[in-house]
């Protein structure tokens, strides 16, 4: 039934696409329409603005700039009033009479508040209402910076946990679950490069340095066909391009880290660069510890972002960007390090002012190493890594009432799950090497966004994805008890297993009025690589593994329905979305699975069914002195996996029915602003003992059903105040102080509840609750020049 639905939809979408292209082809020669296109940028530094809107009067239609700041409109010859706007910037309107294709580049000025109510100038295109795209949240870095942060470390991944349908997977961590999905079902991209482990310091901080980040988009459902490979979400993070007008910088000195970002033109308005670095100095404080064991440790992380771009001419632009980050922990007896590296080379090319294209070559890698140094007992070295090479091309064809997107991608995956060996000539240890896994993941897609009449917008697309394992490799065969029974060797370059899938993506928006609409979407996604991780926290020892003859790809179907309404000229955006999500071949691990350095990992896997459903309400206030949002999510998520919980359905670890986030920032004056956020979520489901027995002198638990209990409800208030010195036009330097308090009313939110023997009373056990954070104050000085 499900397969049929997907098949019919695919056929329907294909028919629509072919018709559109046919009609376009016929219409092209007489060329009734005129193209207006160009780039929209920030007037203060030349940064391209992603998602700024263009409103066309008197038609009441409009468009939105793409991730490179490019926009294109199709209009009949005539006179129009074009309004360009972007949140936090003054709108710009232009009266034009057009008779031929015109290029209009627009630079918007960041708005400066005066001490009076903000006046919203002009009408503006409501992309939230008009576009068929749903289940998407955008956050610009400016608003993220105003949210109070743990230890003052502004973190984009923690900001998205405050959005409806998104939950933190553990206290203080940057791991997150979207609409009940596992953290490994999120595609986290930094300038299109996949970031496999987007966290530092065991997940407490993310790899994204906010000085280097321009924009973030989160797709929770209705994932555009240009993206694939993950079931739950896409987090699309874009770096700053670099100021093309003048040399400038920004940075900060914080409680646990310092940052510096420098940017400037290489050739004025032609090419620019941006470099940013950050390093924590938690280990400086270690030296103050009385405990020698703690004092002798080194612990820090650092990262670098770099980007350069060059505008060759109006039609060609190239970008090179990269990220390099590393975590280091070591003492005399032990060392561990992990890090991500990415590089992206991109070429924007305008075939015409109707056809925009981008070609990217991307490298991304994650690795870790653990070891006991030579000279110590049991000295060893253990390394693991994974590496992707990706080539892709994306095209957008702006036609009158259609926007057609198509493209291709190809990724070569290389997984090195682990090599461990002893150190020194006397070592008793053998070299233990897990075999490498190689795979090719490919995708092609086409989609069209089409306006039908005045009220209906339809977006439909198809993505065809494929995944092939290739040698050299040994594939094990398992019997029904997951015992290895056989193995087959494949030689180098031998493509021995291929999966493919057709993924229909369909959404529509029906405008009820100029400020309200109803939207519906259906999305199918396929995920071919999976994370070997069965804890909720996420450790640096995360290693991914590919689909294979023993591991079927995960498949997800999602249905969404929503109502969107804007009030008082988009100052207030509201939405209500419902979703139902079904995940086939959901991956789980048997009880007490061994996931590390296990050649027979595939025998530890169990696959079954996971599903979730929920309602998300969001009220968002934009532009003005008071900004922020209130979100409430009610959702449930369950799993049913053979061999786990006796095959009976159980709530997944991310099942937290009620979830509320309130995020507010208020600019009292131009110098002083306040931020507050309050979060509430039902406690996570947990498994507790219901009995005990004794072996030797060890007290062992007998457990309840899986996740039969819940931790106490989670709630927390964070506050911040920012004081920025009055801008002195004489001076370039501009500084501000930020004081933040995490967990302001000292809620003891349990991180874990353990059951431990009482050291003082024989045979006694008690429950012990550990919480990570009391009140955590932090002070940060930020500067710009």
């Amino acid at each position: 039934m499900k397969i049929n639905l997907s098949f019919y939809l695919s056929t329907l979408i294909l028919t629509l696409l072919l018709q559109t292209i046919e009609v376009k082809a016929e219409n092209t020669p007489d060329k009734r329409f005129i193209a207006i296109s160009g780039y929209i940028s920030d007037a203060s530094n030349g940064e391209m603005l992603i998602g700024s809107t263009i409103y066309v009067e008197p038609l009441g239609t409009g468009s939105v700039s793409n991730v490179y700041g490019f926009y294109s409109l199709r209009l009949d010859p005539g006179s129009y009033n074009l309004s360009y706007s972007y949140i936090g910037y003054d709108s710009y309107s232009i009266q034009i009479k057009i008779a031929k294709d015109t290029t209009i580049h627009v630079a918007l000025q960041p708005s400066k508040f005066e001490l009076k109510e903000v006046i919203v100038k002009g009408e503006r295109f409501n992309d939230l209402i008009n576009k068929a795209q749903m289940s998407v949240n955008k956050l610009d870095i400016k608003s993220i910076r105003q949210i109070p942060a743990l230890m003052g470390e502004i973190d984009v991944l923690k900001a998205i946990q405050l959005l409806p349908g998104v939950q933190a997977t553990s206290e203080g961590g940057s791991g997150f679950s979207v609409r009940g999905g596992s953290p490994d079902q999120n595609l986290v991209l930094l300038d299109e490069a996949l970031v496999y482990n987007p966290s530092h310091l065991l997940g407490f901080f993310s790899v994204f340095n906010n000085d280097a980040v321009k924009n973030l988009e989160l797709y929770k459902g209705d994932i555009p066909p240009a993206f694939g490979g993950r079931l739950s979400s896409v987090v699309d993070v874009r770096m700053n391009d670099g100021n093309v007008q003048k040399f400038s910088g920004q940075g900060g000195v914080g409680t646990i880290s310092s940052r510096l970002m420098l940017e400037g033109p290489i050739q004025n308005n032609r090419s620019s660069f941006m470099i940013a670095g950050r390093r924590t100095y938690a280990d400086i404080f270690l030296a103050l510890s009385k405990d020698e064991q703690i004092r002798n440790n080194t612990l820090f992380f650092y990262d670098f972002n770099g980007k350069a771009n060059y505008t060759i001419n109006d039609k060609n632009r190239v970008f090179l960007s990269g990220y390099f980050g590393q975590d280091v922990f070591k003492n005399d007896n032990f060392g561990i390090g992990w890090g991500n590296q990415t590089a992206t080379l991109r070429w924007n090319h305008l075939f015409s002012n109707e056809l925009f294209s981008n070609f990217s070559f991307i490298y991304s890698r994650f690795n870790y190493q653990i070891g006991v140094p030579e000279g110590q007992a049991n000295a060893f070295d253990w390394t693991a890594s994974m590496e992707d090479l990706n080539a892709k091309g994306d095209f957008t064809w702006y036609a009158s009432s259609n926007t057609i997107q198509f493209g291709f991608t190809g990724i070569r995956h290389l997984f090195m799950p682990g090599t461990a060996e002893g150190k020194g000539s006397e070592t008793p240890f053998n070299r233990v090497e897990m075999q490498k896994n190689r795979a090719f993941e490919g995708g092609i897609y086409v989609s069209n966004e089409q306006k039908i009449g005045a009220v209906l917008t339809l977006k439909y697309g198809l993505r065809f994805s494929s995944f092939s394992n290739f040698g050299e490799n040994t594939v094990y065969a398992f019997n029904e008890n997951y015992q290895k029974i056989d193995s087959t060797n494949y030689s180098k370059g031998d493509f021995y297993n291929t999966y493919s899938a057709i993924e229909p993506r369909l959404s529509l928006a029906y405008s009820l009025s100029e400020t309200s609409s109803i939207k519906a979407a259906y999305t199918r996604n396929t995920q071919y690589v999976h994370l070997a991780q069965n804890s909720t926290g996420g450790t640096p020892l995360d290693i991914w593994f590919p689909s294979s003859p023993n591991v079927k790809p995960q498949r997800g179907d999602q249905f969404s329905l929503g109502y969107f309404k804007n009030f008082t000229r988009t100052r207030l955006e509201t939405s209500l979305e419902g979703f139902y999500k079904l995940n086939h071949n959901a991956i789980d691990f048997k009880n007490h699975a061994e996931l590390l350095l296990n050649e027979l990992l595939e025998g530890e896997l169990r696959s079954g069914k996971a599903w979730s459903y929920g309602l998300e309400a969001l009220i968002r206030l934009n532009e003005g002195r008071l900004n922020g949002w209130l979100s409430y999510t009610w959702s449930r998520t369950f799993r049913e996996i053979p061999d786990i919980n006796n095959g009976i359905q159980y709530p997944a670890s991310y099942d937290r029915p009620h979830d509320i986030s309130l995020v507010l920032t208020y600019e009292l004056t131009n110098e002083l602003s306040f931020g507050a956020n309050w979060v509430y979520a039902t406690g996570s489901p947990v498994t507790f003992p219901t009995g005990r027995f004794v072996i030797g002198n060890t007290i062992a638990p007998v457990y309840s059903d899986r996740n039969a209990y819940r931790l106490p409800d989670y709630h927390r208030l964070d506050l911040s105040v920012t004081y920025s010195r009055k801008k002195n036009p004489e001076r370039k330097w501009h500084g501000e102080w930020n004081l933040s308090v995490y967990n302001a009313y000292y809620r003891k939110n349990p991180w874990v509840i353990n059951f431990v023997p009482d050291p003082n009373v024989p045979n006694a056990t008690f429950a012990e609750m550990t919480y990570l954070f009391g009140i955590v104050p932090a002070i940060t000085y930020n500067f710009k020049f």
Partner: protein, 283 residues
């Protein structure tokens, strides 16, 4: 692996030492039904082979596990069925005569007949097989580690090229030190398969536990793969979990049929001893 987790946890401790905190927590737990618990091992040692039978309790019972008295237990080694004697001094313990000892490769059946039903049954049976691992244990060396103020027991032994699993226990002057699961070491041999262990560090002794002149004995037992898994699970579930590493809690396996808990194991045990030369704390 356990050590790696310990070190990574140390990172958390370091980072959040200022704010993280543990405290007792009141919680109400449901009761599960009472089950029979078996803790029995046959070894190659020429001593009593002991079996302890108790019952499970509610989690916060906070009492000695209730002993099961008056049961009739047989150990069947394939050639004879030996009746175990109930220990009059230690309730719940049953033992064989001293001339009974295990032989590598042999299969054993433990047959438990209860006076009255526990759970759904008054008869419980367990089968086990002793591994056939021809390892040799040469000697041990004690190394004092100043930085951490503990002794490391270093092992000189030969591991045959077969796939083997070992459990290490320590005795001080004949008294077992590693009586809780967290203190025993269990390993599989894949990192040193077929090698001389060349002073592999297998156990830590706190300097306060050891006096100059004490006899330290290391027991090295070859165990079955299933008992190894049982012991890993026992250690994991009896220890403390944390969201970074712990997989979902799950019940510990058992080879006691009819829904019993615990394990009936058969191990090849060898030992080596050393006398503590000079404990710095005694100076």
């Amino acid at each position: 692996m356990k050590n790696i987790q310990k070190y990574i946890l140390l990172i958390t401790v370091i980072v959040f030492s200022a704010s993280s905190c543990s405290e007792r927590y009141d919680i109400k737990l449901d009761e599960s039904f009472i089950r029979l618990v078996v803790d029995g091992i046959v070894t190659t040692d020429t001593t009593h082979q002991l079996v302890r039978i108790t019952t499970s309790t509610s989690y916060f019972s906070n009492l000695e596990p209730p002993a099961v008295l008056g049961a009739t237990l047989y150990l069947d080694n394939g050639t004879e069925k030996i009746l175990l004697k109930e220990d009059p001094k230690n309730a719940g313990y049953y033992y064989t005569p001293t001339e009974i000892y295990g032989i590598p490769g042999s299969s054993y059946e433990l047959d438990i007949n209860l006076k009255e039903k526990i759970g759904n049954s008054d008869r419980y049976v367990a089968y086990t097989q002793m591994p056939t691992t021809y390892f040799t244990m040469d000697s041990i060396v004690l190394e004092y580690q100043q930085a951490f103020d503990f002794y490391l027991i270093k092992l000189y032994a030969f591991d045959p090229p077969t796939t083997d699993f070992y459990k290490f226990d320590a005795l001080i002057n004949g008294i077992i030190l590693t009586d809780t699961a967290s203190r025993s070491l269990i390993v599989d041999d894949r990192f040193f398969n077929g090698n001389n262990t060349n002073g592999l560090g297998v156990m830590f002794l706190r300097s306060t536990e050891v006096n100059t002149g004490d006899t330290i004995t290391l027991l090295m037992s070859a165990i079955s793969s299933d008992y190894y898994d049982f012991f890993v699970e026992l250690r994991t579930e009896a220890g403390q979990g944390n969201p970074l590493f712990s997989g979902p809690p799950a019940n510990i396996r058992s080879n006691i049929l009819e829904g019993g808990l615990g394990y009936f194991a058969a191990n090849i045990t060898k030992k080596a001893s050393i006398i503590v030369p000079n404990n710095p704390k005694d100076n």
